[in-house]
């Protein structure tokens, strides 16, 4: 049942204190060894090799448990981490289990320096360290077997959970753990030659799949505890609004309503179960002072952004001189709206603040930072705060935010009982964590022969790096998230200028799958198509000609074009569009096939994607991540926008914030470029090209450019 995930972990913590004979690899990530040492030092009394800085445990019965500090939100990270360890361990894949780690610095994401999952960093950051953890254990097991048999370790090999010695000797890992755990942990174990991989690079069934088809997977919203109350809140309708008055008489009169708790974020009604809590919440009468954003409107925001593109901005990139004379200019202005993440599992968190300690159970991408936040809110030292990471019903960046953890912690602290705070879908949609809106003005210049000479892009958008608290001041006036995808594009324009015009409507912002690339790759790839058309060139040929020094990007472009049959005849009314991107260390090209129905609505039939994400860990996971990212991007392109009127969000639920459905789903093909390069990210790079590929196909079909989303 749903609480198994938690029971298992508790049993582990208990059981492992007394673990006799099990081999536990307290192997430290090379880049964070000082944290691991600090963590071990902070836990006096724990047997060496069994601090929670372990990534791997082998039981005397041969069961291998990989302990993963990253959050599983659908991207297959549990599978990815387990397979990295299992590969170098030469484990029997069928005997590998995965356990979610508690918060500990040993589990810090090496690319973030904190325990958090996002930015397509999981495999990039853990490819080597997790392999080292498995390889170290393997060497110890081999040494144990060699010692037992009185043979040279070099004469032994390993295969599917067994050590094989000379003369047909063989022992299962389980039989060797007692001896192996007495050996020193090798600090520099040797890694396999990737040619010898048996698990990595193969399509294996994900280890989280069985629990996700029988209802037993434990998501945050499924947490159950003795004495737990459910909380539903009235949230501030406008960011920065403050409570003027609360009348909770009607709410308290509802049988089953236990408490009404006011916190700075709003007013919560606590009851046994969601339904009564919701009824209570709906009976509250809360008066708000809207504050300065009470008159926010989408029309004003759009005007502000457009105006900002008319004045020079901060220079993010400047090569050559864009004022050179040209024979022909192409100009266009593109706009993208605010977007919500709309994870299928609404935001929720269970918190239990009691005397001297706090526990939270949360579907979070950032357990590490949240431990510190809860510690601050409760005045407890961080080691008295336990953060249990559940399965996440979608993340997409949204679950990097701490709002639901903060609110549930404050409510539990005030109420003195364990509290599960659940956002209604409407609360979730209106929680004010949005992908920023953006407007970009482009000018391109061509010479008389149609060769591209210059490109100017002026991006106007609020600064996510400030909104998310990364920085207070923009380095050189440029927000890196606002321009990524344009500022770092690889097209070789001899004269190129990218400017950023900061414009701040005041709407709170957040990271949305693929972040700035989600809008900027749409902008640039749709505009490049316009330039190609003005030059009278084929869209694929035109791009190729600007990418002669970019073999990996050109490689995916060529592969997608070839697999899609670029240039070959299509059924009547169906047209192609192409788009490319380089982001998160990977390269992606997509070709979309689109037709227009009688009402002028686009129908996307097929998307062919080519991906170069370096060395592949699991091709199946890559296929799914790219396909999922395409759906996420298409859904936004076709349906999604968040708009404001009188400071309020106009959308509320999936009826007015629709998303892509089964009957709109195109066929998706994903082709992977074989590569020996370092692994790139894969959760996000599939998203950015989908929208421009589709709008470019719409141009091919209709001759009309789509310069505003949704289409």
């Amino acid at each position: 049942m749903s609480t198994n995930a938690f029971t298992t972990r508790r049993d582990f913590l208990k059981g492992s204190a007394a673990a006799t004979g099990a081999l536990v690899i307290g192997f430290t990530l090379p880049v964070s060894s000082r944290f691991a040492q600090a963590a071990a030092a902070a836990m006096p009394g724990q047997a060496t090799g069994f601090a929670p800085n372990a990534f791997l445990r082998i039981a005397p019965d041969g069961q291998v448990t990989v302990i993963c500090g990253l959050s599983e939100m659908g991207q297959g990270v549990h599978m990815g981490i387990a397979s990295l360890v299992a590969e170098e361990l030469d484990a029997d894949w069928k005997s590998v289990k995965l356990e979610q780690a508690p918060v500990d610095k040993a589990y810090n994401n090496p690319l973030f320096g904190m325990q958090a999952t996002g930015g397509s960093t999981a495999i990039r950051g853990h490819y080597e360290p997790m392999r080292m953890a498995g390889a170290a254990a393997r060497e110890m097991l081999v040494a144990a077997a060699a010692g037992k048999w009185g043979v040279d370790a070099a004469a032994c090999r390993t295969q599917e959970g067994r050590v094989m010695g000379p003369d047909g000797k063989s022992a299962g890992y389980g039989e060797l753990v007692a001896a192996a755990s007495k050996l020193p942990v090798p600090q520099n174990p040797s890694l396999k030659d990737p040619r010898d991989f048996r698990i990595l690079g193969k399509g294996l069934t994900r280890i989280d799949t069985p629990a996700k088809v029988d209802g037993s997977a434990g998501f945050g919203i499924d947490v159950q505890l003795p004495g737990l109350l459910t909380a539903v809140m009235v949230h501030a309708p406008v960011p920065g609004a403050t409570i003027v008055s609360v009348d909770d008489a009607a709410a308290k009169a509802i049988p089953g309503v236990k408490q009404v708790v006011q916190i700075p974020q709003g007013v919560a009604v606590l009851a046994e179960g969601y339904w009564i809590a919701l009824k209570g919440r709906d009976a509250l009468v809360v008066k708000w002072d809207d504050g300065p954003l009470g008159s926010l409107s989408s029309a004003d925001i759009s005007k502000l952004l457009h105006e900002a593109t008319k004045k020079p901005g901060a220079v993010a990139r400047n090569e050559g001189d864009v004022s050179v004379a040209v024979a022909k200019t192409v100009e266009a202005v593109y706009e993208a709206p605010y977007l919500a993440h709309a994870c299928m599992e609404p935001m929720n968190c269970t918190a239990w603040v009691s005397a001297g300690k706090a526990e939270v159970w949360a579907p979070t991408q950032a357990p590490g930072p949240n431990q510190g936040i809860v510690a601050q809110l409760t005045g407890l030292p961080p080691e008295k705060v336990q953060v249990h990471t559940t399965y996440l019903g979608g993340g997409f960046g949204r679950r990097f935010a701490p709002d639901f953890i903060i609110a549930s912690t404050l409510i539990s602290k005030a109420a003195g009982v364990p509290v599960k705070l659940v956002y209604t879908r409407e609360d979730d949609m209106r929680a004010w964590f949005y992908r920023p809106a953006s407007v970009t003005r482009f000018t391109a210049g061509l010479d008389a022969a149609g060769n591209p000479v210059s490109l100017t892009a002026r991006v106007a958008s609020p600064a996510l790096s400030i909104a998310a608290g990364f920085t207070k001041e923009l380095p050189k006036g440029v927000d890196e998230f606002a321009i990524e995808g344009i500022g770092d594009m690889l097209y070789a324009f001899p004269n190129l200028r990218v400017e950023y015009a900061q414009a701040e409507p005041g709407v709170p912002l957040w990271f949305w799958r693929s972040v700035g690339h989600s809008q900027n790759v749409y902008f640039i790839e749709a505009f490049i198509d316009e330039v190609a058309a003005a030059a009278g060139k084929d869209p694929v040929e035109f791009r190729r000609s600007l990418l002669s020094k970019q073999p990996r990007l050109r490689g995916v472009l060529d592969l997608a074009a070839q697999k899609a049959g670029w240039g070959s005849p299509l059924p009547q009314g169906v047209h192609r569009g192409v788009a490319i991107t380089n982001c998160f260390g990977s390269f992606v090209a997509q070709v979309a096939e689109v037709s227009m129905d009688a009402s002028g609505k686009p129908r996307v039939h097929r998307i062919v994607a080519a991906v170069d994400c370096g060395r592949t860990v699991n091709p199946d996971v890559i296929h799914r991540q790219v396909e999922g990212a395409i759906v996420y991007g298409l859904s936004a392109a076709l349906h999604e926008k968040i708009t404001f009127q009188n400071g309020r969000v106009e959308q509320s639920n999936f009826n007015d914030y629709p998303m892509l459905r089964m009957d709109e789903m195109p066929r998706v093909e994903v082709h992977i470029v074989p590569s020996t390069e370092a692994p790139g990210g894969i959760g996000e790079p599939g998203l950015p090209p989908a929208t421009p590929a589709v709008v470019n196909a719409i141009f091919a079909a209709t001759g009309k450019r789509v310069r505003t989303l949704p289409i």
């Binding site: 339904w275 299928m344 019903g393 659940v422 879908r425």
Partner: protein, 153 residues
């Protein structure tokens, strides 16, 4: 007290009659496999069967299903179609985050019960109201066909 049958077991519910079945299942009975997505009957995450028909548990009160047979994802391994679907879901490795998948399987089971050999249009029609934010639609389609094939074999 409202009495109904959940997965073959008769239960008495202390929740008020207007309580949606979804919350009685999740909060009172601990059947958390049925999920909350929208609460207004537009996402399908809460799909369960009542007397064999798919319904949206978020907008169906327990009063409306008193005395009826409710089947949830937790009991899908107890019938042929459920078993075939779960096996096909694993073979095709359908889930990503997994949150929508109980509702997907319940919707697919209702489809196969009444149409053992659905074509693409039938699948679209039966599944289009069950949302998946992770974009697993193509794998869902493949798994439904896979399950139908094993059931027909």
């Amino acid at each position: 007290m409202i009495s109904l049958s959940i997965n073959g077991k008769t239960v008495q519910l202390s929740a008020t009659p207007d309580t949606p079945l979804l919350w009685a299942l999740r909060d009172e009975l601990g059947y958390t496999g049925t999920k909350f997505g929208c609460g207004i009957s537009v996402c399908g995450a809460c799909t369960v069967h009542v007397d064999g028909k798919p319904i949206r548990a978020c907008v169906t009160t327990i009063e409306a299903v008193a005395g009826k047979q409710v089947t949830t994802i937790e009991a899908m391994d107890a019938n042929r179609i459920g078993q075939a679907l779960q096996a096909a879901w694993i073979r095709n490795d359908v889930p990503q985050c997994g949150y929508c998948q109980s509702g997907q399987i319940m919707s697919a089971a209702a489809l196969l019960a009444q149409n053992p050999k659905p074509n693409d249009t039938d699948i679209d029609e039966a599944m289009r109201r069950t949302l998946c934010r992770c974009g697993t639609y193509n794998r869902i389609r493949a798994a439904i066909k896979d399950a139908a094939a094993t059931l027909g074999a």
